[in-house]
Symmetry: C2
Subunit: 143 residues, 2 copies
């Protein structure tokens, strides 16, 4: 489902801006580390966190990831998120995710987490929009 | 309502990740230029755009802005967005917004826009969360 270009974009160490819906249906956003696995993306969160509770109530989410060195290049992923309630699996997944951002420090980092149970948030994108923008010139489009 | 630190953060030339709700209530996101004016933020969009139509139908939005040089520092603004249907005013507002990103090129840029009527999206934040993060060390929190 994801194109090669979209996979390359998602494999950059950008940050996922994740929006969930609260109990009244209003959008609420946070910023997360993530990684791509095949055609989905994974994030980690405490099971007790607001975002995990939102997803348990309404699984519709959107994620925007922008390129680390170019705010005009971004990808939007819309779809349903799945909560995987597997604390050990989530801690293992976090090591892989953290390695994208802090390299060799990921293991120590994962080991330093509190004991609060973690969940894996898995987003299966149903709509993907990749905006391959650059800073505008006189004739290009603004944001 | 915004603190001095929040105002300073919003006055950096970061990009607004704007999430609106579609007709079925699902979140949809885009990336926009913006500026802060007093305690609100403004963005420009074509009146016919998806985001403007979403807001006309349900004005609840969330905006995330991250710092241009630090993805760990971001601000989340939640609230209701107002659509100001004033094409001339929107084009004038765009000149101010664009100047934050492209400086002296803003006037030429604004003059190059198509004739499609523009609206001003004004977000009056009701909830503000400023995450003054830095890259994690072994003992700090991940995203």
């Amino acid at each position: 489902m994801l194109s090669d270009d979209e996979r390359r974009m998602l494999d950059l160490p950008g940050f996922a801006k994740l929006t969930t819906l609260n109990a009244s249906g209003a959008p609420q956003a946070t910023v997360r580390w993530f990684r791509r696995l095949d055609d989905h993306v994974t994030m980690i969160a405490p099971a007790s966190s607001i975002k995990a509770r939102h997803i348990a109530n309404d699984s519709r989410v959107v994620v925007v990831v922008d390129a680390p060195d170019n705010g005009y290049e971004y990808i939007e992923l819309r779809g349903h998120a799945e909560l995987v309630r597997d604390d050990a699996g989530a801690r293992e997944e976090l090591r892989h995710i953290a390695a994208r951002y802090i390299g060799a420090g990921a293991d120590a980092y994962a080991a330093s987490l509190s004991e609060d149970p973690r969940v894996i948030i898995v987003l299966h994108p149903e709509r993907v929009r990749y905006h391959q923008g650059r800073p505008p010139t006189g004739s290009s489009r603004a944001l």
